[in-house]
Symmetry: C2
Subunit: 347 residues, 2 copies
């Protein structure tokens, strides 16, 4: 406990009754003064506020929420992991925006598994959040039941979901993969590699890959996939995933990575082996990480405004909670970044 004395002080939270008693008024009068509701004299106001300051009274929101007079100011936010910069930015956008409305994020890291998400949902729902923001559109059946039963607003982010549980904001990952596939084939690439991580369940990266393959194969090209098992989508798996891919498919002309971090790993592998980019091999990432802004060579990638995505999700949540009309789906869009890590015209 926070004190410098030898023995722990007991939980001496100051309650409204104590303030009221000290000020010689009823709880109700004290409550009215504190909320500035009106219906009290100036003399009483001063007297009550004096004791509030003196006792260091902080209102107990739990009591208010519990009594059902107001909904809580908690918004549960599930994020796969924070090792991925992209999700950290999304969370930053969410929390900052929620903060301006006086709401707080209650975090849940799901490690990309539906089971973790389900456990978290059960726990977080028991503390009566005003709403939930979930990453991804795939949830376990039990999660779906709980979400529906809870009756609270839910925003699904990241994957755009045309038939969301409630609301959805994100981008169409299939389309973004498709666009990248079309772009690379338009430059004449035919033997294309993909380096990513593998997942038990479908997710946004899977959809990008699906869209990518469809475009490449539709243009007469072929995609060789290298999925790193049991790994997070960061630099090092990108490095050795590239090594493995190139060992298995020597004629690869260009590689599309699950994200920019993996692409940087791939770039470094190429540099270490003396492969020139884009002369010997093309490299494309996804997500447009901030570090790209200072690279001497612009990484071919796909830009998504992660911060804006988070903010939008928070705004939709707040809109719903204040009974404003809110669109069910918001596509925040993406932008393909041609970059200079792929050749710049058909071969």
């Amino acid at each position: 406990m926070v004190n410098n004395m030898d023995k722990p002080i007991k939980n001496n939270k100051v309650s409204l009754s104590q303030v009221a008693r000290a000020a010689g008024v009823s709880k109700m009068t004290a409550s009215r003064v504190i909320r500035g509701e009106g219906g009290y004299s100036e003399k009483t106001r001063v007297k009550v506020m004096q004791h509030v300051d003196q006792l260091g009274y902080l209102p107990n929101r739990l009591a208010t929420v519990f009594a059902g007079d107001q909904s809580s100011t908690f918004i549960g936010v599930s994020i796969p992991d924070l090792g991925n910069e992209v999700f950290a930015q999304v969370l930053e956008g969410i929390d900052r925006k929620l903060g301006t409305f006086g709401y707080q994020s209650v975090l849940g890291l799901t490690q990309h598994t539906q089971q973790e998400e389900e456990n978290w949902i059960r726990t977080v729902l028991s503390s009566q959040p005003a709403g939930l923001i979930l990453t991804g559109r795939y949830h376990s059946p039990r999660s779906m039941d709980m979400l529906r039963n809870s009756g609270i607003p839910v925003v699904e982010i990241w994957d755009l979901n045309s038939s969301p549980l409630d609301m959805s904001v994100g981008i169409n990952h299939f389309d973004s993969g498709f666009d990248m596939g079309r772009y690379l084939t338009s430059l004449g690439y035919q033997n294309i590699g993909y380096v990513g991580t593998s997942h038990d369940t479908a997710n946004a990266a899977t959809e990008r890959l699906n869209g990518f393959c469809k475009a490449v194969e539709g243009a007469g090209g072929a995609v060789v996939k290298q999925l790193c098992l049991h790994d997070t989508a960061t630099y090092y798996p990108g490095f050795y995933g590239t090594e493995q891919l190139l060992a298995a498919a020597r004629d690869t002309e260009c590689i599309f990575f699950q994200n920019d971090a993996m692409a940087f790993g791939g770039l470094q592998y190429c540099a270490s082996k003396g492969l020139s980019v884009p002369e010997d091999i093309g490299i494309a990432g996804w997500g447009d990480l901030p570090i790209a802004s200072v690279m001497n060579r612009r990484l071919t990638s796909c830009h998504v405004s992660h911060l804006k995505l988070g903010q939008k999700a928070a705004e939709m949540m707040m809109g719903r909670l204040t009974d404003e009309p809110v669109p069910t789906c918001t596509d925040i869009g993406f932008r393909l970044i041609p970059g200079s890590t792929v050749r710049n015209s058909g071969a």
Copy 2:
């Protein structure tokens, strides 16, 4: 609300009374069954659990906490910003560890200001968290008052604090700056630059700089500082901060950056100007970002296990909450990484 019907369903949360009534028992019996407390027959247990499942009952933790029977499972966690990978990792460590104990993080992004932190503390304390984990050791006087009055455990992380409010875990930033200063001067560098961001209030980066200057000046060297105003400590400020520094101090032999992200920006600036590292100029960062693992040239830096720092903070919090003896201060240490972006012996 989560339904496909036209009109919003009313908040139909199922309460314990409803379960009890449906099962034909008292609230108390239902409560005992649900908590597995004992004191009921098997027949009753089955009957109650059937109705729990059927009605989709989820206990309302708020009620339990509010009644004062248990403390909440919320831990308030304040973080300066998530744009800095380092803090994202710390948060990841905290939340994962808290999760294993059934606790949740309630996030607060303070944007490096004490005022934001104070506002957040006031808000989060009103929802009766079991404890708080705060980044940094500097808090506003009002914050200090509130923390002391709250009587809940507080862990201050990041800066090691020999006389913490309650508990502290982190590293000694002054020492880590000092070690870097001593290392660079031992290699013969004398005219050294520093590139960082400026802050209203003292923080860990300030202490690193102080330690650094002390070591460099103690060894007869000089430090020229370039503090970028109004900027977050990321890649691009590192890039143009380097440009500004080198314009102002042409004889700079080596630059120490506030963190690795800024150092990467500096490296890119050098590359863009044809400056060889470490032949023409030395570069040192701080924090040892994951991306360093795939760079062809190891960045001179200082390694801190951010994930472990977060986990340790969560462990100390949990220890305190379960009345185990917990050390007041934990130094998780740092490790200087010589790297190859500075010359490797005295000039």
